[in-house]
Amino acid sequence: MTQDEFTVLMDTYGANRERWPVSSKPGALAFIKDQPAIADPLLLEARKLDEALDAARITPGTDMLKARILNEVSQLPSNQPASTQPANSNPGMKYRAVAAMMAISFVLGFAGANYMQPNNSSASEAVMVDNEWEEFADEYGMGDVYEWVEQDALP
């Protein structure tokens, strides 16, 4: 190993020979033995930097963190991938969708009933389903509808 090669080794891996690449070890050890006047100052300088790096080591505690992670995971839903989940694996989702549809229909129906049947029809007859509401809105335009509602002047 040449002086330049030894310098590069020190600059890269430091003075701790445990960290040196296996392939470089024999050459480096031979250089230290044969050229101590050159090798020793380089080793000393590299060792100082190693010690500085050691001084900056941070060692966090992990017991609380471990508990925190496990607690967090226990609160997560199943970790099964979406592609392997059966279609009905989340029944809550389906019920929520149905409930949302019913709520929308109810609100639209209730509004439609007010709009269309202000006089003699019974409540059941007054319920408007989604597509009827859409047709109604399409025919008259939403701006007109709201105006008529405010003026109680639905056609």
């Binding site: 930097l49 500085a52 001084a55 900056a56 966090p60 991938p81």
Partner: protein, 184 residues
């Protein structure tokens, strides 16, 4: 890029099926090393804990889709951790507040302890000046004590590129330290 058998092979299929006990084993195996990696990268323990937790949660969510043989699980987790740390570093300036110091009351020589702590903080400040990728190389090789090959694999770069990065990291740190009068 995987080298050899994955030491987590015994628990990966169980975790993929939602086994929380197997996941606890995974946490037990790697929480110390990953939180140390994150702490070293971001420079403080609290943020490192948050990032470590994120890494484990991502692992839990990812494992059902894990493809064996591509990389070791811990290599993947380290990659996620280092990427999360880089994201954090780009958004925040690191601070040193809680390096789990020994209790001063139990220190036989408080003055020595203070001097040592000051020296440690001083070195850490210098380490903060090292560019992120160089710091990552130092962290993986020195603090995580990974081999050159494992470190390069984690950073997804060639061995030659890793060695070059490591050398530049040491040189940068040495320059920052030498630029101030304080001796090593």
């Amino acid at each position: 890029m995987s080298s050899g058998r994955d030491p987590d092979d015994d628990i990966i299929p169980k975790i993929a099926k939602g086994d929380q006990r197997a996941f606890a084993v995974l946490v037990d195996r790697h929480v110390r090393s990953l939180s140390a990696l994150c702490a070293q990268m971001v420079g403080d323990v609290h943020n490192a804990e948050d990032i470590t937790q994120t890494v484990f949660l991502k692992t839990w969510q990812m494992l059902p889709n894990w493809q064996p043989g591509q990389a070791k699980l811990i290599t993947w987790m380290r990659r996620v951790a280092t990427n999360q740390c880089l994201d954090h570093l780009r958004k925040h300036k690191p601070i040193y507040t809680d390096n789990v110091p020994d209790s001063p009351a139990s220190d036989p020589n408080p003055e020595d302890h203070m001097a040592e702590t000051q020296h440690t903080d001083w070195v850490k400040e210098k380490l903060e000046l090292v560019p992120e990728r160089q710091k990552m190389a130092l962290t993986l090789f020195y603090y995580q004590e990974l081999s050159q090959k494992e470190s390069a694999e984690t950073m997804n770069i060639s061995l030659g590129a890793f060695e070059s990065l490591l050398r530049r990291a040491r040189t940068t740190l040495k320059q920052h330290i030498q630029n101030e009068a304080k001796p090593l």
